[in-house]
């Protein structure tokens, strides 16, 4: 318990939240990630895939838009292109983002560098933050690199800047949560392989499993409720459905776009019940963003706690 007073002066404690350029893990990860051909190969492959897909979509949509009315509905082409690019971006982000982080901490264990780091003055928060943000920065690069492709849609019209910005917010928030989930499992697993499996299982659950499961349950109840000619159960059902949509990035993006197109509003929209009453609801991207950010913070905190833990 005796702490020599002379030593205390030397060990001036620097705050935990240092600027990013001062986070050794962040700098190290970025150096490693951008070194050699790998980062550029991934980026090229991603853009090539996205470009090829956009081209195919254009061919398909241009053909059908022409043929239906005899005159081309250019706005429709633009919108479809935009939606498809965002959809494929979402798929890629959902699967690339965790790939960067699922090995973040477990690989330090595998390389036996984890113990070295724990005997330094590097705090667990800086450690996890450096890992997460360096992965996020690369995801951001992928998203920004796709902006020119997205803006092809502007040629055709039918897409507003708001849509672009909101889709970007939804994509980033999705990447953030999935990356953090990857970090979380990485902090618990001893091997990168098991961390990856657990991460992808949860990501698949978030994107596909959860909506299917709850959707099924709601549909079953929904039929019985529709028979009752009262507004209260209908409202309750709407809220439940809304809540489910807000847990899923794809559903959120689609509904948000629908609201934007049909009501030209960002924050709230109105829904007319079968009884003629109108109900004001919040556009799903807001609760979605809040929910994903809260979950991100929770998983981040859990990961930090696990890293901080000393073996017994």
């Amino acid at each position: 318990m005796t702490a020599p007073a002379a030593k205390l002066g030397r060990g001036r404690r620097i705050g935990r939240w240092r600027p990013l350029t001062d986070n050794p893990v962040f700098i190290k990860e970025l150096r490693g990630r951008m070194r050699g051909a790998r980062a550029f190969v991934v980026l090229t492959f991603y853009l090539g895939l996205l470009g090829a897909f956009t081209g195919l979509m254009y061919l398909a949509v241009a053909e059908s838009a022409m043929s239906v009315s005899g005159q081309s509905n250019v706005g429709e082409v633009g919108r479809t292109l935009f939606v498809s690019i965002v959809a494929i971006e979402m798929l890629l982000v959902a699967f690339i983002a965790p790939a960067f982080t699922a090995g973040a901490i477990s690989s330090e264990r595998e390389h036996q560098t984890f113990d070295l780091l724990r005997t330094t003055l590097l705090g667990p928060t800086s450690f996890v933050l450096g890992k997460l943000l360096s992965a996020m920065l690369y995801v951001l690069l992928l998203l920004l690199a796709a902006v020119p492709l997205q803006s092809i849609a502007f040629f055709f019209g039918g897409v507003a800047e708001t849509e672009v910005i909101l889709s970007f917010v939804i994509l980033i928030v999705t990447a953030l949560l999935f990356s953090t989930v990857g970090i979380f499992f990485s902090s618990r697993a001893h091997r990168t392989l098991s961390a990856s499996v657990l991460t992808y299982t949860s990501v698949a659950f978030f994107t596909f499993g959860l909506p299917i499961m709850i959707g099924g349950v709601v549909l079953m109840f929904g039929f019985s409720i529709n028979n009752v000619q009262s507004t209260t159960p209908q409202i309750a059902l709407l809220y439940v459905l809304g809540a489910i949509i807000c847990t899923n990035p794809a559903a959120t993006a689609l509904l948000t776009q629908y609201v934007l197109l049909n009501q030209q509003t960002i924050g709230t929209f109105t829904y007319t019940l079968s009884g003629g009453e109108t109900l004001t609801l919040i556009s799903p991207w807001i609760p979605f963003t809040l929910l994903y950010l809260v979950l991100t913070v929770v998983f981040f905190a859990l990961a930090v706690r696990r890293v901080h833990q000393i073996e017994n």
């Binding site: 702490a3 050794p24 070194r35 390389h111 036996q112 073996e311």
Partner: protein, 318 residues
């Protein structure tokens, strides 16, 4: 004046379920010492070091490094130590200078001070010419030297090195040994483990011998030699008159025992346990000559630390 202890443990215990890895261990490492922590594999050396480096918590007992409790002040302890585990932590894609830069940054050394520091460290471990090479391309000996440089990044008081010379070729082994001596000259206390006594014997000022999680002997090298080998052993080969020789020797002051040895090449041999100094030893020979006892060979059995070690550790572990 009592020596200042830079590493001190009292009744340290570490249990893993039923297995007792470290049992009632009390270490005393004085400041400035080169302390060799020796014991067979599985004796508890690594466990002790992991407690001292705040990686694991002890089940019972106290451990202090540079005056700070490892349990209560882990951050202060980390600042005071440089730790090298018994494996080399490699990052795949990192250059030699980046490796040192990364760890220096982890020790909160300001960015503007790092380039100079890295150059100094590389010069110390003679790796300046490999500055821009990838870490994974280095030989084992070079990696070990780079590891040592890393432990010095934040100018710690104590270096805790787990088997620094294991798995190295003889040349690399000598280089590491010289580096340890150099670091001691820089004023660092060096606490290092080894299961090979030859590595330790030449450079240590202090020794701690551990077996089955317990300290068997501890102190300066000369102390330990005296403690474990209280008597010098002198082997005498005789032509005949063995009994007369034994009787004569037994009367000399300082002789604690005279034993028959197995015959060598048909000659009778005896072993004399003797606690006197060099003059006393020559007196023994003179006594025999004076009595007309024919001596064929008279030699002191020199015991290196290896023998001391074999005596201290009775092979319980291995």
């Amino acid at each position: 004046m009592a020596e200042e202890l830079i590493i001190e443990t009292h009744g340290l215990v570490k249990r893993y379920g039923k297995l007792v890895a470290v049992n009632n261990l009390s270490l005393k490492v004085p400041r400035g010492a080169i302390y060799g922590f020796v014991g067979p594999n599985g004796a508890g050396k690594t466990t002790t070091m992991r407690i001292l480096t705040t990686l694991i918590t002890p089940t019972a007992g106290d451990a202090y490094v540079a005056g700070y409790s490892v349990v209560d002040y882990p951050r202060e302890v980390r600042r005071a130590i440089g730790y090298m585990p018994d494996f080399f932590g490699v990052y795949d894609d990192m250059k030699v200078w980046e490796y040192l830069d990364f760890f220096a940054a982890c020790y909160e050394i300001p960015e503007r001070e790092r380039p100079g520091l890295i150059n100094d460290l590389l010069a110390l471990v003679d790796l300046t010419h490999r500055r821009d090479d990838m870490v994974e391309k280095l030989s084992r000996g070079m990696k070990q030297r780079l590891s040592l440089a890393r432990t010095l990044a934040h100018d710690p008081d104590v270096l805790i090195l787990d088997e620094p010379a294991s798995g190295l070729d003889p040349r690399a082994r000598i280089e590491i040994r010289e580096l340890l001596v150099e670091m001691a000259r820089m004023g660092k206390t060096i606490f290092f483990s080894s299961h090979i006594l030859a590595d330790v014997a030449e450079i240590c000022t202090h020794l701690g011998i551990i077996e089955s999680g317990e300290i068997v002997a501890q102190g300066t090298v000369t102390d330990i030699r005296r403690q474990l080998m209280p008597a010098r052993e002198i082997l005498i080969t005789l032509l005949d008159q063995v009994d007369a020789a034994k009787a004569a020797l037994a009367q000399i002051a300082g002789v604690t025992g005279v034993h028959d040895m197995s015959d060598a090449h048909g000659r009778r041999r005896i072993r004399v346990d003797f606690t006197g100094d060099d003059e006393g030893v020559s007196q023994l020979l003179q006594t025999l000559s004076a009595r007309g006892i024919p001596v064929v060979n008279f030699a002191e059995e020199t015991h290196d630390l290896e023998t001391v070690f074999m005596r201290a550790t009775k092979g319980i572990v291995s």
